[in-house]
């Protein structure tokens, strides 16, 4: 089970993601954004951080990196691609996921634990969760306010491509539960074929009781299990 963790200039959650993949038995390898070729890898992980400082727009410059051409080919061939935080932003910029992540409504960086509801437990990434399960996961971002045009938004909902939504601790939609103003409280979505997931919260930071939560583990075990059965 070989997993590539791509490091862009300015990625800073690459190490955390690498450790998370390893914790569930993944054979993780760092790849520098100028390297090429993803043949032989079973999954690709795009970490959080500030690729190119988030200058211009978060993810805009990183999506020009040489490796992104290979990531696109890999994804189009059905390979699983997970983008977390800045990784999600890069996926949107590169067109692998629809829409865009705008500045948080508060115009402030938001760092804290949030609660997520698992909307779909039948994806590559969420099979080890129960539908409706409530997760406690840290966020840390300034641009996580998901936005797209009307048709895209309707398609996301009608096709059930919203995988995680911000809720309160009791699992309900509520004022204050959405940390960034995201449309329909969207925290994570997939592409049409379900092999590309982008999410703002950081499951790789919720892997140990010592650090406050283990609710991220199932995402990584789901991914590994899906690769072993496929």
């Amino acid at each position: 089970m070989k997993v590539a963790v791509i490091t862009f200039p300015g990625s800073n959650c690459d190490y955390d993601l690498y450790k998370a993949a390893q914790q569930v038995g993944g054979d993780a390898t760092f790849m520098w954004h100028r390297e090429r070729g993803l043949a032989g890898y079973d999954a690709v992980l795009l970490p959080g951080g500030f690729s190119y400082g988030d200058y211009l727009r978060a993810g805009a410059i990183a999506r020009m990196s040489p490796i992104m051409a290979d990531v696109i080919t890999f994804a189009n061939a059905g390979g699983p691609v997970l983008g977390i935080c800045n990784g999600f932003q890069i996926l949107c910029e590169s067109g692998l996921l629809p829409g865009a992540l705008m500045h948080n409504e508060s115009m402030k960086f938001q760092s804290k634990d949030v609660f997520l509801r698992v909307e779909r437990a039948d994806t590559l990434f969420t099979a080890d969760y129960e539908a409706g399960q409530i997760l406690r996961i840290p966020i840390a971002h300034g641009e996580g306010n998901y936005e797209a045009d009307k048709e895209t938004l309707e398609a996301l909902e009608s096709e059930g491509r919203v995988v995680f939504r911000y809720v309160d601790s009791s699992g309900e939609k509520s004022e204050g539960a959405n940390p960034n103003g995201s449309w329909h409280d969207i925290a994570g979505i997939t592409n049409e074929s379900g092999n590309v997931l982008g999410m703002m919260p950081h499951p790789e930071r919720a892997m140990e009781e010592l650090l406050g939560s283990t609710d991220g583990i199932a995402l990584f075990t789901s991914l590994v299990a899906s690769l072993q059965t496929s």
Partner: protein, 762 residues
């Protein structure tokens, strides 16, 4: 090394002539200038004058503080690197070493809060990774005027975003800090940033230039005209009507480049291709090159036209004194320059050879091969004149301290209302508004996040963790500097034992007014003496620090603020305690006693707009016993929570324990019966007290342990369910409130002021 003398150097075309006025503009007194002439054996050139001015500024030369700093204890078996390097280093066990240091950026933040704070964080990160350590945590210690001023709100929000954006982008978690709002900081905010870095012992590298002929390389960002004379600027008072043009060009931070520079530097150090590396911080190339030469007992020769610049037409003077950020000076092993270049290129950065280490003990600068400065290196770094001055307490402060506070000991009106007022004062209230803008969990090591007594990061692959805190109550130091400094060190150590960490060493930031004034020098000296005594008592040596003087606007100085950044070691992460109560039904035990002072309290500030009275006394032996007792209880695993009593007194500490981070509040039922006025019992900020909660079956053991350490201890009440509310009896007085009322006051205070939209207030 030979006793180098300066060669004759003709004046450079286009440079200004040196007049008495030019000398004064460079912050040198006539006597200091004479000393320069003596060292040089001739008049300095304009370039040379600039170099002396920067190196002999307070910021680099510690003219007014060096002799005092020499009084501080700096040694212990666990100290690997004491003061004098880019950061102190201590052993933390299992082969790991911790590098840590604090740094101020007060003056730049007063001018441009966002960039000032951001570049402050950038500078302290570089101090850590130049030691070979990977930065693992940041803390920030801030002071502002009262939040009712628009200008202050502008400074506060700018500083917080600056600290946040920089650290967030580089990916270093913030694990704590402090902030105080008081009119004493109205004109001069304080922005101190502290960084911790971890490495294996063998990864340590120091910043000395040795080995004649070794190439010197400039690495990282290009040099622009930013911050020229920042070091001198930081060593002067601000004045409201200061001529805009006399201020140095603002330095703009580029955290993205910093992240690349961080990775590249650690890779460079690991490669073995270099023998020394240093941040080009205050006074830029000048200080980094001359300090590296000074430490190595060697000389340097630099060619200015080889320095990669961002702007055209820069003079040697400008290049030497630029404080452009995100740059490093590296001493490469001869013949390995290409390796250095390759590593930098991989990280999409530049490296250029700009000179070499020499054996002649000179700081020599060339422009197109022509010498424009030739200065004996040693006197430049070590020959800075140092002063011991007359110190005398200001009479008005003696009067303030001796003020009779008895009329304030009788509460006016409803005690519960007063309590909510104190709890909702920005100094006591929750600081979530700040640290929710800081990434606290990146690097997946943060075990205790901001909001508790100390931040904690675990050391991956071991059972250990390091803890850190910053503390100083400037009001106490203002009222009685020695006691205030004792209290700052004592509070820091208390904050560490509350999470279960053994206090190990400190770094400190001396933020003061103009030391040429006798009453300010008095504050400085007394503070240092207090710090010395407390650090000796707690066995927490000083491994480094920073001095920021001249924090005055129009003659008004800040409160003397010797910020203590203390680190501690936890050898079993499973035993960490936090401040919040965890179970209804637990007993609440107060360790330590109330010594009865009300001076300098938040209560007085909030209810009477007063900073006066005798600040709380500090009993070093009692403190030490308290801290050892709490550590013992932690090791025996009999504590469910522990929290230090500080601003707002016992009642504020109880409220903080009951509210926690707001997610799972609990109530309390407490009764205090001591021979003091209720106001003093509730709001007095007596030192040496820690509140713990204990499962009832462990209470006897906790009380027995306290007795064994001769620490006063009493069960004062119990934790209740949240709907039981907050209820306290103090002799004949009482107060009670619902947890929702408390939460509103505590969590709502800063957001309700800061999230109202407004302009820059400038």
């Amino acid at each position: 090394m030979t006793n180098a003398t300066a060669m004759p150097v003709p004046p450079r075309e286009g440079d200004p002539e040196i007049t008495a006025e030019v000398v004064a503009d460079h912050g040198l007194s006539p006597e200091e200038y004479e000393r320069v002439q003596r060292i040089m054996g001739r008049d300095p050139t304009f370039t040379e004058l600039g170099v002396f001015s920067a190196m002999w500024s307070e910021h680099c030369g510690y003219k007014n503080s060096k002799r005092l700093l020499q009084l501080l204890p700096t040694k212990a078996p666990w100290v690997i690197q004491g003061p004098g390097e880019n950061a102190g280093v201590i052993d933390v066990g299992d082969g790991f070493a911790l590098a840590f240091k604090i740094e101020s950026h007060n003056h730049p933040s007063a001018v441009e809060p966002y960039q000032g704070a951001a570049t402050g964080v950038g500078g302290i990160l570089r101090d850590i990774f130049t030691m070979g350590a990977r930065p693992v945590a940041v803390l920030d210690s801030l002071r502002f005027g009262d939040l009712d001023s628009g200008r202050v709100r502008y400074l506060f929000s700018g500083v917080v975003s600056g600290v946040g954006d920089y650290g967030n982008c580089v990916g270093i978690p913030n694990i704590g800090g402090e902030v105080q709002f008081d009119r004493g900081y109205e004109g001069n905010p304080i922005v101190n940033a502290m960084c911790l870095g971890l490495m294996k012992h063998e990864e340590l590298i120091t910043a000395a230039a040795t080995g004649g002929g070794s190439p010197l390389m400039a690495v990282g960002a290009r040099t622009g005209r930013d911050g020229i004379h920042g070091a001198t600027f930081a060593s002067e008072e601000l004045s409201e009507d200061a001529d805009e043009s006399s201020r140095p060009q603002v330095q703009v931070g580029d955290p993205f480049t910093e992240k690349l520079l961080l990775e590249a530097s650690l890779e460079l150090i690991a490669s073995g291709a270099i023998s020394g590396i240093q941040d080009m911080g205050a006074a830029g190339i000048t200080s980094s090159a001359s300090e590296m030469a000074g430490r190595g007992g060697s000389g340097v020769e630099l060619e200015m036209t080889d320095v990669p610049v961002r702007e055209e037409g820069m003079t040697p003077y400008e290049i030497l004194l630029s404080e452009s950020q995100e740059r490093m000076l590296v001493v490469a092993h001869p013949g390995r320059e290409d390796e250095v270049r390759e590593i930098l290129e991989k990280w999409e950065l530049e490296a250029a050879v700009i000179g070499q280490v020499t054996d002649d003990g000179k700081f020599r600068i060339l422009e197109n091969g022509k010498v424009v400065a030739d200065i004996p290196a040693l006197p430049l770094t070590d020959g800075c004149p140092t002063y011991e001055r007359e110190g005398k307490e200001a009479e008005e402060i003696t009067a303030l301290r001796e003020m009779d506070l008895s009329e304030h000991m009788i509460p006016e009106g409803d005690l519960t209302k007063t309590f909510l007022l104190v709890l909702g004062s920005p100094n006591v209230a929750s600081k979530q508004w700040i640290y929710h803008q800081y990434d606290t969990t990146v690097r997946t090591a943060t075990t205790v996040r901001p909001g508790g007594d100390s931040g904690v990061v675990r050391i991956r692959g071991t059972n250990r963790a390091v803890a850190a805190t910053t503390d100083c109550n400037g009001r106490f130091v203002y009222l009685e500097p020695r006691t205030g400094a004792l209290a700052a060190v004592a509070e820091a150590a208390r904050n560490l034992v509350c999470v279960g960490a053994l206090p190990t060493a400190i770094t400190n930031n001396l933020n003061f007014g103009n030391p040429l004034k006798a009453h300010i020098y008095y504050q400085l000296r007394e503070s240092v003496l207090g710090m010395r005594d407390a650090c000796s008592a707690f066995e927490t040596p000083v491994t480094g620090g920073n001095v920021s003087l001249f924090n005055e606007t129009d003659g008004k100085a800040i409160y003397p603020t010797p910020v203590i950044g203390m680190v501690g070691v936890i050898d079993d992460v499973s035993k960490i305690t936090r401040h919040a109560f965890v179970n209804a039904g637990d007993d609440i035990v107060l360790l330590g006693t109330n010594t009865g002072e009300l001076g300098g309290s938040e209560y007085l500030y909030v209810t009477a707009d007063l900073v006066a009275g005798e600040p709380p006394s500090v009993d070093l032996e009692g403190e030490r016993a308290l801290q050892q007792a709490v550590l013992k209880m932690n090791h025996e695993e009999v504590l469910n929570s522990a929290h230090d009593c500080s601003e707002g007194g016992l009642v504020a500490a109880l409220a903080q324990c009951a509210l926690g981070d707001g997610e799972a509040p609990l109530g309390i039922d407490v009764a205090i019966d001591e021979d003091l006025r209720p106001v003093v019992s509730l709001f007095g900020e007596s030192q040496g007290r820690i509140l713990v909660s204990v499962s009832p079956e462990n209470t006897d053991q906790v009380l027995a342990l306290a007795r064994r350490y001769e620490v006063p201890a009493q069960k004062i009440g119990t934790v209740t369910a949240a709907d039981g509310g907050f209820s306290m009896k103090v002799r004949d007085a009482s107060l009670s409130a619902s947890m929702a009322e408390l939460a509103d006051a505590y969590f709502g205070a800063i957001p309700s002021i800061m999230d109202a939209p407004e302009g820059s207030g400038s």
